[in-house]
Amino acid sequence: MGGDAPLATGRRGEWRVLLVAGVYCLVGAFVVTMWLWRDPASRIVAANPFDSDQFTWYFRYDATAVAHLRLPALITDGMNAPQGISVMWNTFMLLPGMLLAPVTLLAGPQASLTALMTAGFAGSALAMIAVLRRWGASLPAAALGGGVYGFSPALIQSSLGHYDLQFAVLPPLIADTALRLATGRCRGGWRGAARCGGWLGLLAAAQLFINEELLFDTGVAVVIMVAVLFASRPRATAGRLRDVLTGLAAGTVVLAAVAGYPLWMQFLGPLRQQGIPFTPDFYKNDLAGLVQPSGYLLAHTASSAAFARHFQGGLPEYLGYLGWPLLAVLALVTVRFWRLLPLRVMAVAFVVLATFSLGGTLLAGGDEHGLVKLPWYWLQTLPVTGSVLPDRFSIVADGAAAAALAFGFDAGSWLAWPSRRLSRWCPHRCPPRPRHPCRPAGRRRSLACGSRRARTFSSSPFRWRPIPRRCAGPPTPASPPR
């Protein structure tokens, strides 16, 4: 993943930062899954043994193929003999299943799934941290975003047997690559765009072999983000079109090369099916579920746990919770820093995705309000969108919320502790307030000086760029410590 290195540290230093962050994420993941690690080969998260049993079978299937030095067949009569089943229409998780085949063969499929779940928490958090750092977030902000996403209620609830959804490592990387392509951060002209597009195609193919639905949800999120971006900076649109098309073409070629045959088998091969077997507009978030934590979350109460337990989609699909405090902070930073484009993009994406997650008609407090039509109502009858369970948009919505919080944290920290930040980060640039000639207005000026260290999303072309210097002062170190 080539691209812009974070502002304050070099490439090597950044890898070190990510390595340490990865260790912390792993520790966090082990803490969350520690009861499973007491006996990883047989312990599962309660509440959904059916899907866990199914995934163990899939992992054994993948491992058996690897043990015979071949790829898993896309049509198998291992189940439902003699007719068989199509692997691509089921959640076989071919990629993790094959990568973890040695663990499956040595310690059994449940041990592999436990390892996958732990990697899912740690990897999702680390992926978000890496992406946020790439977009200029400070380390505390990136850590906040990574924690909110990697250990989000949506991923915690998905760990109830939905291993394919819980392993949400790639969506942040896909969104990052797509946005870099859209904003011209892929260095090297059309060649750089093609390289970015190729990487995007590879990531999409990898996600395809983990969970197709999450790939679609991520694609929807990216479309929303790019739409907001272009609506906010329309003049830059035309200039980026050629590179974006180049990148998309390269991505399509890579995706077709890696996943073309499996997709052909899925949609044109034997045992193809129409639609999904689930009741339309059933698996959707309850509006009250956004603020009612389930019993699997630390902050729950007896009544909120009971509410979640009676959710019509079941606990593994109870993905909407974020909580009043987080929603309030999100609203606050969005309103306050609306002009900060990255925050705006993520905040709008979160709102739209969260709205999609509510399904076609409103479900509130367990009561169906069929007359209240929501945006997804008009999308759920289309060929592809009709195959999506809307509540699962919560996973990518939480990612957008995490990123918005991180950007808001960075922006807000300059407001909250301007003098401390200034003395710490730019002692040479910002001499004591009273005597400095360029800061007669006191606090307001000091903020301006402080924000020189922050980055803003300048209009043309879409690039992070420091705000121009306003205070002429002594030379400053190129890379101040973070």
């Binding site: 059916f50 049993d53 199914q54 079978w57 189940m79 003999a81 199509s86 089921n90 045992l271």
Partner: protein, 126 residues
Amino acid sequence: MATYTAPLRWAADTGQPASMIGGYFMGPTWAGPAATDGNGLSSEAMYLNQLWAQSARVPVASVATLPPNQVYPDAAQMRAQFAGWKLSAVVADTSPRSALGRYLTGLLGPPEARAGQVLGWRLPRQ
């Protein structure tokens, strides 16, 4: 079946059998639309599941749908279904004296293999 996945866990842990009737999956029905467990199990499979559930004291409703008119497949239909499934072996997690054990013994003869509570019959290649 979606409501009873212990056989999948068994197959995952042991690697056997390599191929099974039923399972828990998404697949097309005969008409094409997707359904959990595809076309579902045949009435013969449901009958075997029902016998097993009664022997294993598992709720019948979790593994079988009873025929609405209480008409169960006879031996000829069961043998024809076995042929249609192209079975190479029948493995039953039950005792010889259970309802399922007695039924299979009557249908296939005495079990050719026994290990604890597991009975096995090898079937001629169809």
